[in-house]
Symmetry: C2
């Protein structure tokens, strides 16, 4: 059937997506329990993924982890991104100027995915990591993209997303967020002031392609106590400038 997906491929994807940074090794039993599948089913799927290099088994305790084939394919994705090639020197400059961590993200459904991260000196440990996802409605980088989506896409995303209050400052109602997005469109940048994480402040700007479509955003983030009003003004200017520079290199014309 045309609307039907292939069950075994979905199950294989389920298995791969069980792994995370905090849970990098899993046994057959654990996978079977988490997915509600019988051990022999899981065993067949795992042996196939292992055979193709997507999983690796440690012989000492027979636990599985993600394999090098994913590393290879993941790097193909990253290495093929024109955006990253174009943006990287601009990101390096920004880090040198501002001495904070710079991120770049792209959107994927109702989330953003970090595609670049360069840490400045004195960086603190942060939630973000290249490859990781984050919500769109309450991160600087996410809001900087969302604000410039088409109205219909914004409506759909705000309907589908499951709002979660990460801190007391997290905006989590569609009306609040829409108001915020209007403001971002007016001023040309977004700010995450302790919405995703207490103590963390982030300034972000959208990146457009040659068609004027927002395809990414760039940000500068750091501990809130380092962001005086004066420094924040400088960061806003530099981040907006960087966003425009990357956009221009992608063919964007104001």
């Amino acid at each position: 059937m045309s609307d039907k997906l292939i069950q075994s491929v979905e199950r294989a994807a389920d298995i791969l997506e069980l792994f995370s940074l905090t849970e990098s090794e899993l046994s057959v039993k654990e996978i079977s329990e988490r997915l509600g599948l019988s051990k022999s089913t899981v065993h067949g799927l795992i042996k196939t993924l292992e055979h193709r290099g997507y999983l690796e088994q440690r012989l000492s305790d027979q636990k599985y982890k993600l394999g090098l084939r994913l590393f290879q394919l993941g790097n193909l994705v990253g290495g093929g991104m024109e955006l990253r090639k174009v943006a990287y020197p601009i990101i390096q400059e920004l880090v040198e100027k501002l001495h904070e961590t710079v991120h770049m993200v792209v959107s994927d459904k109702d989330e953003v995915v970090y595609v670049e991260k360069l840490e400045g000196l004195g960086s603190l440990r942060m939630y973000s990591m290249v490859g990781k996802r984050a919500p769109m409605y309450c991160t600087g980088v996410g809001k900087a993209m969302l604000a410039f989506f088409e109205e219909s896409a914004i409506e759909r995303i705000l309907q589908e997303v499951k709002f979660q209050k990460f801190t007391p400052y997290t905006l989590d109602t569609p009306d609040e967020i829409k108001q915020e997005l209007r403001k971002i469109r007016e001023q040309g940048y977004a700010i995450d002031d302790e919405e995703i994480e207490i103590g963390l402040k982030c300034v972000a700007a959208p990146i457009f392609n040659h068609e004027g479509t927002v395809v990414a955003s760039i940000s500068c983030a750091g501990p809130k106590h380092r962001f005086s009003d004066e420094k924040t003004a400088i960061v806003i200017q530099e981040v907006r400038s960087a966003g425009l520079e990357v956009s221009r290199k992608l063919g964007y014309r104001v």
Copy 2:
């Protein structure tokens, strides 16, 4: 059956592995022809992979490319590698000292996979790229690992590998290669002198773990004309030293 793999999962993997840096977009028809599968079969597999984020379809011409989910999982693999965390500052030092490109690889069956690459100033464009695979028998990094494998593993790999002469200097018979591996074990480093690519020279050293098992290798590579006898001696010393430093940080004791 226990030795049976799951066909649909293998076919999905086949599709993902059709993509490369030079061929980053494919149509349903192309995939169908390359794999010898009917278009409706390919369509079902592709729609499943797309739905899960492993493939993305460009709407303008309906071609497919690898999706962000692979980027995410690939970064999970890379981000979880203790080896990379431990080695990175040492690699940076090496680049600063030698002003050439430094690589690090791990092994995967009868090949090596580049897990780190840091380019020095004045680097030339090279075959290598993080995530990419290379043969073990005729690269510096590959030989630096192979030489320190167990005898049975060396035998097996030299039997299974399909030898290919990349340049007139490529060693491509088991006897020649074994002789070379003996020499590498004696001197503690490997050299690729235009075996994989004309004009390219590379010096590599093994990296051992706490059990004394070779788990990676590190190398310095550059255009052959920059490698005078004097400079080569310096590079050998620095690369061996770096290999040992990474090994020690992994718990290796001579």
